[in-house]
Symmetry: C2
C-alpha cells in the first residue's frame, strides 16, 4: 500500500508548448491513486515549495484544464533556481509540514536530480516519499529517453519557420542565417531539415554544436552553395562551436571584452546571427566585389512558446507521461523515477514507457549521435527519427511541380 | 468588348503568407473573361517581364493551385526592382511583343505605380491595355484600403507570438523586448495588443513609429511597469522613432560610424532589440543596483512567411481580391485600378470591394490614425478594427481564473 498523504506538482526550467499537457495529465489521472489527498501546485517550482506558495488543483474544472493543456509555457510558473543541500533541506521540511508523500516534478535533467536528492534526504530520516520526474525540454537532450516532450512542438516551429523562410528566400534570393536554440545539443537545429520538400530546398547548411566548424570552412560552405544556387539558407545552433572547442558566443564575448565595446549580451539576443551575417557580408562580399543580400534571424523564445504551434504527437505524449507518473505512484516500491519513452523496435513509430532511475537521467546531457550527422547536414536516419515527432507540417506547393 | 489578348500576372515586394491566394484567385477566375488568352506568370515581377521569363499558368491543376494558395511567399518569385522610365519602356515593349493586354500586379504601393505608368505609356502610343493592382502588404499601409491582404496573417503571427511570449514571461519573470516589422506604419506592432486576455497581460508597452519616444521616457515607462508587475513585455516597431524624427536605427547607424565598429547591419538583424535590451540592462539595472533579466527577440522574416500561420479571413479576402480583378477586367473602361476593400458601415465586420484609381494608392503610405493610438498603447478602437482581420487565435487558459 502506498503511503496516505498529499502530493506536490511543479514545473521547472525553460517552458515548452506542451509542459502543461503533462501537468494536466497528472491532475486528470489523480483519482487513480486514492492514497493521494490534496494535489498542491507549487508556484515557480522549488521556489514555491520553500515559500509555501501553493494552489490546490484537485477540483480544477475540466474545461479549464483542457484550455491550460493547450496554453504555452508553465501554468504554475517556473524557476531557474538550482537548489543546494540547504535549499533541499527546506524543501523536505516543507514536505513534512504539509505531509507531502508524492512529488511530481516536470523539468529537465537538473530538476530531476533535485527531486531525487530530496527523496533520499527524506528516506535517511525515515520519511517515506515517492518522487517522479516528468521529462520536458525542447533541447531533447535527456539521456535514456528516446525523445522528450516539448521537443516535437519546438521542432515543428523550427521546421515551419524554415519552410516559410526558404520560400521567402527563393522569392527574393540571398543568404539567410537562422539561429536556432540549442547550446549543447543540435536536435532542434537539425529539425530544420524537415522543412525540405523539393530539390535544392533549404536549409542548405546545418551547423550543430556537435560538429565544430571554423570560420573559413563555414565561409567556404556558404560560398559553394551560393555559387551553385544563387542563394543559401543556413541553420546554425546558438551553441555553434569553433574547432578549439569554444563556442562562437564565447569567442565573441572575449572579443567584446577585449575591444571594450560595452555590454553586448549573448543570450536572448541576435548577436550570433548578426555576427555570422556580418562575416559573410564582409568576407564573401569582398571576395566577390559586390554587395550581397545577407540577413539573419534569431528564432529566440518563439521556438518554445509560440501559441498554436503544437505537434499533436508531442501534446498527446506529454499528457501520457503525466498520466503514467500517477500510475507509477501506485507501487510503493517506485520511490523515485523518470517517466521514460523509448521507441518500440520494429517498423513504424510506436512508443513504450517505463520508469527509469533518475540517476540515469540527471545532470549529464545527451548529444546527437554520429549516425544523425554528416558534415554540415543531417542524415536520413535523423529525418526518420524526427519526422514522427513533429506531427503534421503545413502542405506546400510550387510551380516547379509543373515541369515534372 | 475588352481587347482580345494575353495577360501577365506578377508578384512584387516583400512576400506575405497569402499573396499566393490572390494569384490563385486570378487563375481560378480567368475563364470569366473570354477575351483573355494566355495567362503568363512572370518570374520575379517586373524583372521577369524584361527578361521574357514567363510560365504559362492557364492549365495549372486545381489540386496544385490549392496547395500553392496556402504556401507562404510569392510562388512566382518577387523583386525589389523599382523601374525607372527606361525600365518601363522595356516592360511595354515586351507586352507589345507578347500581345499582353492585361496586367495583374500583386504588390504594395510602388508596384501599383509601376503598373499604372506602363499602362499610360501604352495609351500614349495607342496600345490598349488594362492594368490591375492587387494589394498585398503586411505593413497595412495602403491609402484608401481599409486594410490589406497579408496584414491579417502577419498580425496573427505577432499576436500568437505575444500570447506565448507573455505566458513565458509570466513563468520566468523579466523584461522582454520584441521587435516587430514596420518601418513607417505601426499596424503590425499594434497587433501585439490582440494577445491580451487577462488583467496585466502583456504587451505592457507598445511603441510605433507614429509616436516618437525618447530613451528617457522609454526607460521611465519600463521602470514603472516593472516596479508594478515585476515583469514587462514590450512591443517595439523596427521603425521606432526618436523625438527628433530620426529612427533609433538611424541614430545607431550614426553611432556605429562614429565609433567605427564596422559593418553592423540594421535590417534583417537583431541590432535594435539588442540595443534596447542593453539600454535597459545598463540604465535600469544600474539604478536598481542589481542584474535584471532582460531579453530581446526580433521576429524578423518569420512574421511574413511562417508556414501554417494564416488568418482564414485574410486568406479568403486575398483570394477574393484576385478574383475581383478578373471581374473588373471585363469592363474595358477599367483601364487601371487597385482592387480596394472597405468596411461596410454599420454593425459587425463585412467588407465591400470597389476599384480605386491607382494614383490614390500609389507611392505615399498610410500611417496609423490618432484614434488608434494613446501614449504607449493602442485604443479599443484599434482592437475593434484589427480583431476581425486575424481570424481565430489559439484559446488559452490560466489558473488565475480559479480565483474568480
Amino acid at each position: 500500500m502506498s503511503t496516505q498523504g498529499n502530493a506536490v506538482i511543479g514545473q521547472s526550467g525553460g517552458p515548452t508548448n506542451v509542459i502543461n499537457q503533462s501537468l494536466v495529465g497528472v491532475i486528470q489521472n489523480l483519482k487513480l491513486n486514492p492514497a493521494i489527498g490534496k494535489l498542491l501546485g507549487t508556484r515557480h517550482g522549488v521556489r514555491g515549495i520553500v515559500n509555501n506558495d501553493y494552489i490546490e488543483l484537485n477540483n480544477t474544472p475540466h474545461e479549464l484544464l483542457e484550455r491550460i493543456a493547450r496554453t504555452p509555457s508553465s501554468a504554475l510558473g517556473s524557476t531557474r533556481d538550482k537548489p543546494d543541500a540547504a535549499y533541499c533541506e527546506k524543501i523536505l521540511a516543507n514536505f513534512k509540514q504539509n505531509n507531502v508523500r508524492y512529488f511530481f516534478y516536470i523539468g529537465g535533467n537538473d530538476s530531476a536530480d533535485t527531486a531525487r536528492i530530496v527523496q533520499e534526504m527524506g528516506a535517511k530520516t525515515g520519511y517515506q516519499m515517492q518522487v517522479f520526474h516528468i521529462p520536458k525540454t525542447i533541447d531533447n537532450d535527456l539521456r535514456v529517453h528516446d525523445h522528450t516532450p516539448g521537443y516535437g512542438s519546438a521542432a515543428k516551429f523550427v521546421a515551419s519557420a524554415f519552410i516559410g523562410d526558404d520560400f521567402d528566400n527563393k522569392s527574393l534570393p540571398g543568404i539567410k542565417v537562422n539561429v536556432v536554440m540549442g547550446r549543447h545539443a543540435g536536435y532542434l537545429t537539425a529539425a530544420s531539415a524537415l522543412a525540405r520538400k523539393y530539390d535544392n530546398d533549404g536549409p542548405h547548411l546545418i551547423y550543430v554544436p556537435e560538429k565544430p566548424i571554423s570560420e573559413d570552412d563555414f565561409l567556404a560552405d556558404v560560398d559553394r552553395v551560393f555559387t551553385k544556387l544563387g542563394r543559401c539558407v543556413i541553420a546554425a545552433s546558438e551553441g555553434l562551436t569553433a574547432p578549439d572547442g569554444k563556442t562562437y558566443a564565447e569567442h565573441m564575448a572575449e572579443n567584446v571584452e577585449k575591444d571594450s565595446h560595452g555590454n553586448i549580451q549573448l543570450s536572448g539576443t541576435g548577436a550570433l546571427g548578426d555576427y555570422l551575417a556580418g562575416l559573410i557580408t564582409e568576407k564573401l562580399g569582398k571576395a566577390r566585389g559586390k554587395k550581397l543580400r545577407v540577413r539573419a534571424d534569431t528564432f529566440g523564445y518563439l521556438q518554445r512558446s509560440f501559441a498554436g504551434c503544437i505537434s499533436e504527437t508531442d501534446a498527446s505524449e506529454a499528457r501520457l507521461v503525466g498520466k503514467k507518473a500517477v500510475e507509477y505512484s501506485l507501487d510503493p516500491k517506485n520511490v523515485e523515477g523518470s517517466v521514460c519513452m523509448t521507441r518500440k523496435p520494429g517498423t513504424g513509430y510506436e512508443i513504450q514507457i517505463h520508469l527509469e532511475s533518475i540517476k540515469n537521467v540527471a545532470r549529464e546531457a545527451k548529444h546527437m549521435p554520429d549516425e544523425f550527422l554528416t558534415g554540415n547536414d543531417v542524415t536520413q536516419k535523423f529525418i526518420d527519427y524526427a519526422r514522427p515527432l513533429v506531427g503534421e507540417l503545413p502542405p506546400v506547393g510550387s510551380f516547379s511541380e509543373l515541369k515534372k
